[in-house]
Amino acid sequence: MDTIYPSLVHIVGEGYASFRREELFTYSKDLGTSEPKWPDYVAAPKTAEQVAEILKLANREKVPVVPLGGGMSLAGLALPLKGGIALDLKRMDRIIEVNEKGRYAVVEAGVSHGKLTAYLHNQHPHLMHSEPGAPPAATIGGNLAIHGQGDLAHPYGFNTDMINGMEIVLPTGEICKFGSCAVGAGWFTLHPLPDVGLFLGWNGATGIITKVSLRLFPYKKFREMEIFVVEDENLIPEILYELTHLGLTEDLVAFSSAIPPFSDRLHHVSINVTGDSEAEIELKRRLIFEVKLAKYIESGVGGIAAVSQAIQRPQVSKSADWKKGGGFEYVGSIMPVSAYPECYRRGAEISTRHHIPYTILGRVIGCGHAMMFSWSYAFNRADEKTVRHAREALHETDNIVMDLGGVIWKPAVFGQELLLAKMDVNTLSLMKKIKLLLDPNNIMNPGNWEVD
């Protein structure tokens, strides 16, 4: 008789575990082009202790465990490639502490980005965190597990660079803390203790993030978005260089898309400008347009497409529902900013070949140290042919990233294999040792970052 299901019910409570086909079906599907992968069980724990119990059970029974946050990563990363327990972490959704003056928030990993933003907005209107452009159901833990980036990537880097501490449940069930919280101090810094952080960017393959102290940053009351536009993609890297030198903006994103037609083949740079007063915004706007970008305007190669637009959370609608098809997936990459023109050209070519209007985007990370460059491919969920096209386009794009000397971000298994094949052998061997040490029974999200 199956003892796993009753054990799960015992741990998480009636109603929060299932092995019924309807739940398994729902968790077998990703929002993107991945083929379904069925779990054997679904469980939704409420506490780190429950997660620990489940991992101990999984080790005893040798069943895989696949953590799931918002399920927004699209590349099949939270699909149970080898069956097992789909662990829905969204009930772990407490905002535990916000330290206003110390500018950090301690949250459970299943807290959604939407919830944290709303909470700060209402309770701590001077603070914000770096929210990714993902749908707001994306969770803090899931985003860190894939090294996400948000709307403060330009001033402060990857979201994983904004951590003051973490609580992790190791694959073998021990609950560990990292950072100042590990020595009983507050959750205000990750450093200077010896670095044992082996959990970020691993897709949960080395442990489950259950709590995080996230750095918060000043939320400026006056906020607006400017949009600059050029036709020549080759100008984008130097424009971004100028703007990052200025260093006065919050989010810098260059993008281009075939739809709507008026913007086809044009390259837009959205520039988020914020300030504590109208005068501060005005000054920044002047420095951007009259000092840094004036030469492009004067020479006629660039123009101001919009000023003083309200900054709004990006909506998934247009890209996901192109031609009423209800689907899209993208390849993300971390690239040098200088690669923008080539990334755009190669991406547009792939899109054309697969009959999909191109959509590309590059978000600056740090002071122009890199960008997250993405290529999106829409498909019609009801038309298998278009799904296949999108899937092929995604694979071709993974290859382009490698060709152009970039790093695929949140790669699907296909992309992970490309990266592992190119990985320095000693690094590869270290990854293998780490995985074996932390997860001796290979229960954690197997199939992800798997070194043979």
């Binding site: 109603g15 929060y16 299932s18 019924r20 086909r21 309807e22 739940e23 079906f25 729902t26 968790y27 599907k29 929002l31 679904v42 939704a44 918002g70 399920g71 927004m72 829905d88 969204k90 009930r91 959704d93 959604s112 939407g114 919830k115 933003t117 709303a118 909470y119 209402n122 749908p135 707001p136 159901a137 909506q315 998934v316 609608s317 996901a320 529902d321 009423k324 098809g325 209800g326 689907g327 899209f328 019609n380 969920r381 009801a382």
Partner: protein, 387 residues
């Protein structure tokens, strides 16, 4: 087996499951869908439900009692409609209702739903109580029988049979009487409005109920109807015209707001001390019929009461889960939508949680009790506040 006839075959694949619909308008938490708030498994989210329906319709999944439970866990509150950013959003609840239609046609509905429908067929109400006891709500009061007065006061099933809702029904009867409104009631002859029958996907039974009511109303010479329940209001106002039932239908708050404006509501006294009051918008008055002002206008006019809003209000108001009252699916847990709503109401500091729907009244009063908030906040139907 694929269902070629399913009405939304060309739309349902468009849900991306982006999860915007999980959030209320203030983005405060993922409790926008009452069923998802309660169960917190993806299968119960609005997107999960649509994907399951699609899988069933395509023949990818077989029907099961559990599948039907998930489909029927939709309370039709329309909060998802409000939040979905895609252009098909208006059809989300329709897609679920159409799936229920298919299940009904195949005789494949959850036991609770079947019982509900049986009761309506047998007794004219979902409670399974004999129609002869429909006048129990009057409790010795003698509201006039409808005989051509200006308004028919349609009490509805909850007001007629549920002990808590009966008090609201009487209160409304009294307020209308005190205000000199010319009205009558149908008493034993009243039958269910059919709103839930329609939403449970039983088209044929709904048609029969609606036609029965329409015939009866016309025979009695009814032109204008006042309903206690927003559910009745919705059915009579929006669906009865399909069967040539063209009446002037009002929710009672619309009538009372107007009477108050004309200073015809008499003898309303306020509390001894200034008190805060908050209002819970019923889904079928608010999102389904965009009536947000009438109840608020009433409350704002009352002496000694200050209206404070919950963060989720008007079109973003949380659903108490009452639209799902044929089964206890949504009750029983700290995460039940009614309990979440009761906590939100108490957090405003209000001493009274005003409602304008008998379903909300019973759901929220139970929730306040279970939450142990009775000493802090009382649940009152607006009609009860006015008597």
């Amino acid at each position: 087996m694929a269902l070629a006839e399913y009405q939304y075959n060309d739309v349902i694949h468009r849900c991306f499951r982006c999860g915007y619909c999980k959030f209320p308008t203030d983005w405060s938490d993922v409790t926008n869908c009452p069923a998802y708030a309660r169960f917190r498994l993806e299968s119960y989210s609005a997107g999960g439900r649509l994907w399951l329906i699609r899988a069933w319709v395509n023949g990818e999944l077989e029907w099961s009692e559990h599948l039907a439970d998930i489909v029927y866990s939709c309370a039709a509150c329309k909060n998802c409609v409000e939040k979905c950013p895609l252009s098909f959003n208006e059809d989300i609840v329709n897609m679920v209702t159409a799936a229920k239609n298919e299940m009904v046609e195949m005789g494949l509905v959850p036991r609770g739903v079947k019982k509900f429908l049986n009761n309506v067929q047998l007794h004219g109400n979902p409670y399974g109580i004999s129609a002869g006891r429909r006048t129990g709500w009057m409790e010795g009061k003698s509201y006039p029988a409808y005989q051509g007065q200006e308004f028919l006061y349609y009490v509805g099933c909850e007001g007629s049979f549920d002990t808590r809702a009966q008090s609201a029904a009487r209160a409304l009867g009294d307020v209308l009487t005190n205000s000199g409104v010319s009205f009558g009631v149908l008493g034993e002859k009243e039958v269910t409005d059919g709103n839930e029958v329609d939403l449970l996907g039983e088209d044929a039974l709904f048609e029969s109920v609606a036609e029965k009511n329409i015939r009866q109303f016309k025979k009695a010479g009814v032109n204008k109807i006042i309903t206690l329940s927003p559910h009745s209001y919705n059915a009579m106002k929006n669906s009865y015209p399909r069967f040539h039932g063209d009446f002037e239908v009002f929710h009672y708050t619309q009538i009372l707001a107007d009477l108050i404006k004309k200073k015809r509501v008499r003898g309303v006294s306020g509390p001894d001390e200034e008190e805060k009051i908050t209002f819970h918008d019923p889904c079928f008055l608010g999102r389904w019929n965009q009536e947000y002002n009438a109840p608020r206008n009433i409350l704002k006019s009352l002496p000694g009461l200050t209206l404070v809003e919950m963060p989720r209000n008007k079109k973003g108001a949380a659903c108490c889960g009452g639209g799902n009252f044929y089964t206890d699916l949504l009750g029983g847990s700290e995460e039940s939508p009614a309990r979440i709503r009761a906590r939100e109401a108490a957090a405003t500091g209000a001493g009274i949680l005003a409602v304008a729907c008998p379903n909300c009244l019973t759901m929220l009063e139970d929730a306040v009790k279970v939450e142990g908030l009775e000493n802090r906040i009382k649940v009152r139907d607006i009609a009860e506040i006015l008597v």
